[in-house]
Symmetry: C2
Subunit: 404 residues, 2 copies
């Protein structure tokens, strides 16, 4: 291997973002990701336009750049401005019992989009995929899907506009036909191209999991997959809120869509919610101390933040007073920028902390309070979600008022 | 390659019988196939037992050895003798409009089994698989499935005991869950072992088509795949009439069955209906002159038999009178042994023709009459099959009298 090759490889190693791997030697460079994936930056003028069209302030995730990239959001808004509604599609692979805050991000944002645009929403629970790849039984996968559905419902979705479905229950009929249609459109070369495989990659990579997952996830982008909702509405547009790592999957979906008679789904894409230990990737399900879970107690939250949240503060109080915190790498500030809604207070904290007037302990204390309130609110809401409510959200039924 | 290896390869080349290839340099050696596959010979004592248990003469395909092999048929009969019923499962991949006589063989035999044992029957139409692998659209695959269903119904199945389903319509729910369960039980090594692949075979072979087809075909062997029929009857046994080339698929199914809580399905397996040109394999869909189609006219049948049916007769009348016909390779006699029901007449023809007293032309004339009657009977029956009847057979419904 010559020097140039070596350098290139090193650069490639530096930042890997794909649906099955997110890793980086430092902070993830989201600008680079936009260039690499070929999506568009979600700039201030677009945020302003959303505010104008919906007549309400943009969600904190939107105005603070958590959702920072998109594909064809302009087209969705153009159509919306002309009176044409769309539908939202998001989903979750129910592989674990308890969700962490990172899992809540897309659902909190989707709830805002549903309320702001007054549009229907389909939420896919890929229990079939988790059963296949995570060594869970069918029964256990479906149990987890229902448990996760309770957390999702607790985010406040409108049952008259929302259809939650488990693949195990819903795959079949129109949905299954679209699965086969999509599968027939995806060539080997396309898969290799989208995922950056080479001919030397092992079979496992190019064969089942990614291809299959792409197909599962593509199908809800096509309105005909939901005849009980969108019969005769094949031209209805679809907007998918998701994390940026899902972009390659939906690039394939967007490639296939016009070939089988649908609009390309639009995307609105978020950065990753960082792990407590620092912003070098997504949180790891295998390390419970890397994340705050929606089931954590106030005490657990406080302990985790104090013990594990990576601080940008200086080593000693003296040094900190002098130099101030490095806000770029500080997790408490990062978390507050997701969940502290008061813009003025956030600015105040950043200013004081950055200048050394505020200490890490104080910021962590504020964060613990914000997250405890958030988690306790979620726990109360979740406890109120009955099995009957889950059944209601998951019933295959028309939603007569979904566009009102 | 040394001499021994060469010889071995030649022997292997001689006879290849798998779900995707049937070829042989001479007549297929069915005894060898029984040994290779490890199934059992369906001997006279078993035929007698079927006759005794059902109280009716065994079907001509049974008493003349067309269905010549089985797996666990004894277990099915033991249970039946104790008053325990079973269900039949057969199917078809609807890749072409018109069926030929070879296609009818399993359905004619299944119809006899249903009548004789008074048991329910499920018939799978794998339109999804044909759509995927034969470059047919979803709509065209489903149209062919319904067209084929008409031919199947024309074989005389009892609508109160028979459920015909298209995968496109029926995959989902319990069926889909069983698909995933089966898929999870099939290891790469199992696939390699069953199909005789090696590590050097190309990806295409070990990846999608055979594995997927195995899964599609396995699932109807499990009663829970049909909750509208067999709810609470997880211990119901299943008997599958099929051609011997399907044995490897169902070997996998039988391997999986006990691991997910079901009886191994029993098999009753037929030899191949030979092509007009001679008994070296199955008929080819790509050569219309290799087979008699159920849509053929009397004239076409007569022409095809006269022109293409491979004769065991001698080159000249003189020689024929002297040596007689070689019945072992004679297609008209072979076809008569499938479809001429009168045992005495068949024996007479074989004796006379074999001794040279009867000429090829006379035997062909008799065969043309037998097949024309069969085909015309089928055409009349098929013309009477309405779309409403197809809907009735394919409706997902309970069959309250299916065991009567």
């Amino acid at each position: 291997m010559d020097k140039n090759e070596e350098k290139q490889r090193e650069e490639e190693r530096e930042q890997v973002v794909s649906p099955w791997e997110v890793s980086s030697s430092g902070k993830i460079d989201y600008d680079k990701l936009i260039d690499k994936f070929g999506c568009q930056r979600l700039d201030q003028s677009l945020v302003d336009r959303v505010q104008r069209l919906t007549g309400r302030p943009p969600h904190v995730f939107l105005r603070r750049g958590v959702f920072f990239a998109h594909r064809d959001l302009n087209d969705i808004l153009d159509a919306y401005e002309k009176g044409e509604k769309f539908y939202l599609y998001t989903g979750r692979g129910p592989s674990s019992e308890a969700l962490h805050l990172g899992h809540l991000v897309p659902f909190m944002f989707t709830k805002y989009l549903q309320d702001a645009f007054k549009v229907p929403l389909v939420i896919q629970l890929t229990d079939d995929e988790k059963c296949m790849w995570k060594n869970l039984s069918v029964e256990e996968s479906q149990r987890l899907a229902r448990e996760n559905a309770k957390d999702i419902i607790a985010c406040g979705f409108d049952v008259t506009k929302t259809f939650i479905f488990s693949d195990f229950d819903y795959v079949g009929g129109a949905f299954y036909k679209n699965m086969v249609k999509v599968a027939k459109c995806v060539t080997y070369n396309k898969v290799v191209g989208i995922f950056g495989f080479t001919g030397e990659d092992h079979i496992g990579k190019v064969s089942f999991p990614p291809v299959q997952e792409m197909i599962y996830k593509a199908v809800p982008s096509f309105p005909s997959s939901f005849p009980h909702l969108f019969s005769g509405k094949d031209h209805l547009r679809c907007l998918i809120p998701c994390a940026i790592d899902q972009d390659p999957y939906f690039r394939m979906t967007r490639d296939v869509a016009p070939r089988i008679g649908y609009h390309k789904p639009a995307l609105i894409e978020s950065s990753f919610f960082p792990a407590l230990q620092g912003e070098t990737g997504k949180m790891s399900a295998s390390d419970p101390n890397s994340a705050i879970y929606v089931t954590d107690s106030a005490k657990a939250i406080k302990n985790k933040i104090n013990k594990y949240a990576f601080s940008g503060g200086q080593e000693s109080v003296e040094l900190h007073r002098k130099l101030g915190a490095n806000l770029e790498v500080d997790i408490p500030v990062k978390y507050l920028s997701f969940f502290l809604e008061d813009d003025a207070e956030l600015e105040h904290i950043k200013k004081e902390y950055g200048a050394g007037g505020m200490l890490t302990g104080e910021v962590k204390q504020r964060l613990a309070k914000v997250l405890t309130e958030l988690v306790e609110r979620h726990q109360v809401a979740r406890a109120a979600v009955t099995d009957e409510m889950v059944d209601a959200f998951m019933a295959v039924r028309p939603l007569p008022n979904m566009f009102d």
